[in-house]
């Protein structure tokens, strides 16, 4: 019983992280639609464009998943 607890738990937590990150990004995209996040013209594109925010979101997701997997693998 205890042998399958760790993988199940890690899968559950990773699944929750993935679901949360995707939901957060989708909610953000929905809310940001119609705001001038990318600038009205090319000369005023701000540092944080939608594309860069998407990359930040992906990097954050991957980092969290890696931390969870590392903790379950090394410290459990």
């Amino acid at each position: 019983m205890e042998d399958c607890t760790m993988p199940l738990l890690s899968i559950a937590i990773c699944g929750f992280i993935l679901a949360f990150e995707i939901a957060a990004w989708l909610l953000f995209r929905r809310k940001v639609a119609g705001l001038t996040i990318d600038g009205p013209d090319s000369s005023s594109i701000p540092f944080f464009t939608l594309q860069r925010l998407r990359v930040i979101g992906i990097v954050h997701t991957v980092t969290m998943l890696a931390i969870v997997i590392a903790i379950f693998s090394l410290l459990w």
């Binding site: 738990l9 937590i13 992280i17 949360f20 990150e21 957060a24 909610l27 953000f28 809310k31 940001v32 639609a33 119609g34 705001l35 001038t36 996040i37 990318d38 009205p40 013209d41 005023s44 944080f48 925010l53 930040i56 979101g57 954050h60 969290m64 931390i67 969870v68 903790i71 410290l75 459990w76």
Partner: protein, 183 residues
């Protein structure tokens, strides 16, 4: 008439009228995120210390696992909270057109505010920077007073530049947007 942003190009935003032209826009100063980020780093440091204590100090394997799991869940909750706070930073926008100043403030679920004030109806435009930090980093509060309303915008970045730009726009003496006659 409000422009439907789904059919408009990238220069339109929600609540924009056809006769308006975007002059500039800005979000709150990045320093607004500094405290939440510092709090996250501090909490992560404490959690890391707790994890070290749990792994080294607790001999019982099941208690150790419980401790690690609890710390992991707290860490993930803190990360999620900061991520939401980070995204929310980009949902607070001040858009200045040649006719109006729009303050759009949204959260993921609970808040969707849009306040706008006509440039021509402004009676007072005040800029205030209090303290060393605000003067050092160039941000402050803009207070826009019209006849029956006051709009305060906090953490305005490059406040002197934006203040002067708004004064210049107001000085142009834009006329109010003409209302369409009913059919």
């Amino acid at each position: 008439m409000v422009v439907d942003t789904r059919r408009s190009g990238p220069t339109a935003f929600q609540g924009m009228s056809r006769a308006e032209h975007i002059e500039f826009y800005f979000r709150q100063h990045w320093i607004r995120l500094l405290w939440p980020f510092s709090r996250l780093c501090l909490a992560c440091t404490v959690i890391a210390g707790g994890a070290w204590f749990v792994t080294a100090g607790i001999p019982d394997a099941s208690m150790r696992r419980l401790g690690i799991l609890a710390l992991l869940l707290i860490f993930l909750a803190l990360q999620a909270s900061f991520l939401v706070r980070f995204y929310r930073h980009f949902l607070y926008v001040i858009i200045v057109t040649d006719r109006k100043i729009h303050r759009i403030k949204k959260t993921f679920l609970a808040i969707d505010d849009h306040q706008s004030i006509d440039l021509w109806s402004l009676q007072d435009i005040n800029k205030s920077q209090r303290g060393i930090i605000q003067n050092l980093f160039g941000f402050g509060t803009l207070t826009l007073e019209a006849q029956e309303s006051i709009l305060k915008i906090h953490f305005v970045p490059k406040i002197t530049k934006h203040y002067e730009s708004i004064l210049r726009l107001q000085g142009r003496g834009q006329r109010p947007i003409p209302q369409q006659a009913p059919a």
